[in-house]
Symmetry: C2
Subunit: 217 residues, 2 copies
């Protein structure tokens, strides 16, 4: 049963509950850059990620963005079902960062099952606590880490995710992840280049010395 | 029954569960500046605030602080019971900002009841979602709002909480709330003073023009 991979307390649901949950889930393919969920007025449902990569971010009135966290294979996206809890009072946007395969569980079904099942409600608590931990980590990064360290960490993360030292990503895109302006990213990347850490060319950033970059973090 | 004020789903608990929860709760007086909970190694329990004011904050290796949110009468502090969820993986500190009266519910009792009761587990989800909303709001403030606006908002909040226009608070303390250095606070307050918004004197900040300060926000 595939859903047991997402819900470790699967066998604490009754057979009827298991059937409702798996019966209601809809498989969907999502192309890179497609927005799955857009703010608190939206309520797509829980998204279980089979493959690919999602990004959760917020943005300002001026259109600046910052990535809150990313979701990968076997992760569950909870805030795309923001209507299941009235206290979720913030606007988060979820987009596919890569072509992705997902299961979507409608919010009404999930909410009903959460109301019935303490194990499912408690597991939902654990999912939210995980995201909370990531968001607190983000605040720590923003508040106490200098931008060069944050950028070095981001480049290393990208390199690990894409399994390549030659990143195909624009300075604009990096700025959107990090909540800053493109110029700030470009300036720091040029600084990295003059230190021999990266080589910049049109549309790519090559990591020349990941170890030295690691020491920067 | 006083606990029904904190737990709106109180009547969905069985009489035995209600008794366990209320029987285990311990009333405690906490003096201003006392630290109730200190990081993830600590696990005091759920704190229900009867009166007073608590502050939840994080700090850097260098000892700089930033306030994540504040808790008031009738609020529940969940992260002081961080051991009830394994996914709570961050260090938060909870201190009394004023002399406070609280009920403390031991974490093991609460965890047991949450495991049994879907209504309690779901209500715990709502508490966490509320804090999550506050923390996302904080990120928005840090990322997109200029420091003058944040400081103006902080002074107005303090004035409302203390019900006075003459704030007895040090620049150092404000810096700890806002995650910045004392010098930055002092510089901006002097700027406010020269604009006729505040009057600074030893240990106090008087709000001369709250309306104009409001317009700054």
């Amino acid at each position: 049963m595939i859903f047991a991979d997402y819900f470790p307390m699967w066998d604490q649901l009754t057979p009827a509950q298991q059937e409702q949950l798996s019966g209601a889930a809809v498989k969907r393919s999502v192309k890179k850059d497609v927005i799955l969920h857009n703010g608190s007025m939206d309520c797509l449902g829980l998204v279980l990620i089979c493959s690919g990569q999602l990004r959760a971010y917020i943005f300002s009135d001026e259109g600046r963005e910052i990535t809150m966290y990313r979701l990968f294979e076997r992760d569950i996206c909870l805030f795309s079902a923001s209507c299941i809890m009235q206290s979720i009072q913030f606007d988060i946007t979820i987009e596919a960062e890569k072509d992705s395969e997902v299961w979507i569980i409608p919010p009404d079904i999930y909410k009903k099952l959460m109301t019935e099942s303490a194990p499912l409600a408690n597991y939902t608590n654990e999912i939210m606590a995980s995201r909370f931990s990531e968001v607190v980590w983000l605040i720590e990064q923003i508040m106490w880490k200098s931008f060069d360290k944050r950028l070095a960490a981001f480049l290393l993360e990208e390199s690990a995710l894409e399994q390549t030292k030659i990143l195909k990503i624009t300075h604009e895109k990096i700025a959107s992840h990090m909540g800053t302006a493109r110029e700030v990213v470009t300036r720091m990347l040029r600084h990295f280049q003059s230190d021999g850490l990266v080589r910049l060319s049109r549309g790519t950033i090559e990591l020349l010395d990941p170890q030295k970059l690691e020491n920067t973090v």
